[in-house]
Amino acid sequence: MSEIRYGRDHITAAFQNARQSQTAALMPYFTLGYPDRQTSLDIITAIAPYSDLLELGVPFSDPLADGPTIQRSTQIALENGTTTAVCLEMVRELRQRGVTVPIMLMGYYNPVLAYGEAGYVSAALAAGADGFIIPDLPPEEAGELEVLVNEAGMALIYFLAPTSNESRIQLVTQWARGFIYLVSVTGVTGARQAIQTDLSAFVQRVRQATDIPLAVGFGIGTPRQAAQIGQLADGVIVGSALINAADSPQAAADFTRSLREALRDV
């Protein structure tokens, strides 16, 4: 197998591969360091074979875009000593274990600032990460980090939400690399009973403005919901429901496989 070059091309290829297999890309989210370092690594390794990309959470004390499940997982990870530096070591270890899918590091902006933006980007690339998801960093504030991430050949992922008007869609599509993270509902992360009915119209609005892959997240809890979203978008992100299901690496793998199969069966 040829050596993988990490970065935005790796991300783009993952979406292209999924499209060629006529399925939406599956991107599970899991919190680094939850419930402890070793188990976290085992869980992520176990779900990787069923995943097209991975979104891995770097814990922050005040995760204001997250619901109770991810809040609790990041709190436990912090109590276990999961610093940003530890998260980067864990990414390196996952690569050593043979996890090859693109890894998106999801974390809030303050720990990035504290680490040092330039240092964080280069350390993340060296560890084997491909991109960054920073929920409290809209394009207006991304300035310097955007430049650094671009120079590193990586991707800084931006969001759009059901509340986004045309001017927001214009702005975000102009900056977007890798994919755009579409928030399925106005709200915080967490599994929900039903998916917003006008999601289809929202995805269409963004689709008209850009060809970049669109991945939908927030509130997707079941294989059935994943399949529904998979028909609308290029990627499906599942976080809280996976954390709730991940009593063991095997349970996490089973749940992820059920999502994978549901997406394929569509």
């Binding site: 922050f60 004390s61 005040d62 995760p63 204001l64 875009a65 619901g67 809040q71 709190q75 912090l78 610093t83 940003t84 530096a85 809030y108 902006y109 303050n110 720990p111 990035v112 600032l113 504290a114 680490y115 929920p135 409290d136 960093l137 809209p138 207006e140 504030e141 931006y158 969001f159 759009l160 939400a161 059901p162 509340t163 986004s164 008007n165 927001r168 975000v172 928030v183 106005t186 709200g187 915080v188």
Partner: protein, 404 residues
């Protein structure tokens, strides 16, 4: 005369106060912030809106609040003449009502029917609950469980005023966590809901808007001191948690270069042992960071995790500080210092006994600094202290701290 909003060159269009401020929020909220910026700008240029705000400030809040000459305290300290800007006499007991009414009127104008707010000491929660009762808006207030325990009277007040008080038991269970929950609620219900943020914090336009709505304090104080003393004060002292009462009184004097500004942070149990909320005093832990949508000084670990703070006063117990204060510190427009819990308690008692005024524990921090400064000054010099709130809410805390 109807109040005018003073125009200044900060923040810029993107909400920056020099390197501070900004809009570090989830994308879902960006359109709501754009809408708020526009609605706010239209409102303050609409004479009808400003007249309505002004009428409520006069006929409901009881403005102007007096500027009281604290004669016995001045004499006892033997230095500068001390004047107290009596925000404690406002309806609902603190300066917080000024901003709560301004934003509630704005929310109504924007067609929002539901208000969420955070509260630390409960004064902002009470102010918001009061404004919502007056205007017929649904009101939900998030409050940390630690603060609920130490500010019980304000919890009862909010409930009586028809607000729902939602306890927050995550993190440090204080103001910081209440703001997290209020933002999560706002992000979920943004179509119907206005987030009525209580300090000069958060994403643009909040630091500017809250400053402007609170600027009535300084506008009045300036007129009052000129009328009574025929000159500007030498020094203005105010406590700084997020910093809204301080910015509210500083703003009207910002171009008066002879007037020295002093902001007083919560020194808690002392800077050395780390149990405090004095962001500007402890640069080992306070570094430039981003919390709750704005860039400012933030007390944090080397890993960038937000630290838990400590103060005897719930209203100052917060790990960051308004971005304009950070700018004022950098460009030395204001000096910042701190008072410990012990000093605040002593000042609390001093003001009770010399002036017959029971101040809030937050405001007692400003009084404590006044007690240090006044004796170093001449009797013809003037200090204005912003007495931001009354201390009824703190009686339990004070009684147990003093073993009474």
């Amino acid at each position: 005369m109807v109040m005018q909003i003073k125009k200044v060159n900060v923040p810029d269009e993107r909400g920056k106060f020099g390197p501070y401020g900004g809009q570090f929020v989830p994308e879902t909220l960006m359109p709501a912030l754009d809408e708020l910026i526009q609605a706010y700008d239209e409102a303050i240029h609409d004479p009808e809106f400003m007249a309505e705000f002004d009428t409520l400030l006069r006929t409901y809040v009881g403005r102007p609040s007096p500027l009281s000459h604290a004669k016995r305290l001045s004499q006892q300290l033997g230095g500068a003449q001390i004047y107290l800007k009596r925000e404690d006499l406002n309806h609902s007991g603190a300066h917080k009502i000024n901003n709560a009414l301004g934003q509630a009127l704005l929310a109504q104008r924007m067609g929002k029917t539901r208000i969420v707010a955070e509260t630390g000491a409960g004064q902002h929660g009470v102010g918001t609950a009061t404004a919502c009762a007056l205007l017929g808006l649904e009101c939900v207030v998030y409050m940390g469980t630690v603060d609920i325990a130490r500010q019980q009277p304000n919890v009862y007040r909010m409930k009586l005023l028809g607000a729902e008080v939602r306890p927050v038991s995550s993190g440090s269970q204080t103001l910081k966590d209440a703001i997290n929950e209020a933002i999560r609620d706002w992000v979920t219900n943004v179509e119907t809901t206005h987030y009525l943020l209580g300090s000069v914090l958060g994403p643009h336009p909040y630091p500017m808007m809250v400053r402007d709505f609170q600027s009535v304090i300084g506008v009045e104080a300036r007129e009052q001191v000129l009328a009574e003393c025929g000159r500007l004060p030498d020094m203005i002292i105010a406590c700084v948690g997020g910093g809204s009462n301080a910015m509210g009184i500083f703003h009207a004097f910002r171009d008066d270069e002879s007037v020295q500004f002093v902001g007083v942070e919560a020194g808690g149990e002392g800077i050395e042992n780390g149990r405090h909320a004095a962001r500007f005093a402890d640069m080992n832990v306070a570094r430039i960071g981003v919390l709750h949508g704005t860039k400012s000084y933030v007390m944090q670990t080397p890993d960038g995790q937000i630290m838990e703070t400590h103060s005897i006063s719930a209203g100052l117990d917060y790990p960051s500080v308004g971005p304009e204060h950070a700018l004022f510190r950098d460009n030395e427009r204001a000096g910042y210092t701190y008072a410990t819990d012990e000093e605040a308690l002593a000042a609390f008692q001093t003001l009770c006994r010399t002036e017959g005024i029971i101040p809030a524990l937050e405001s007692s921090h400003a009084v404590a600094e006044t007690i240090k400064q006044a004796p170093k000054m001449r009797p013809d010099q003037i200090i204005i202290v912003n007495l931001s709130g009354r201390g009824d809410k703190d009686l339990n805390t004070v009684m147990s701290a003093l073993d009474l």
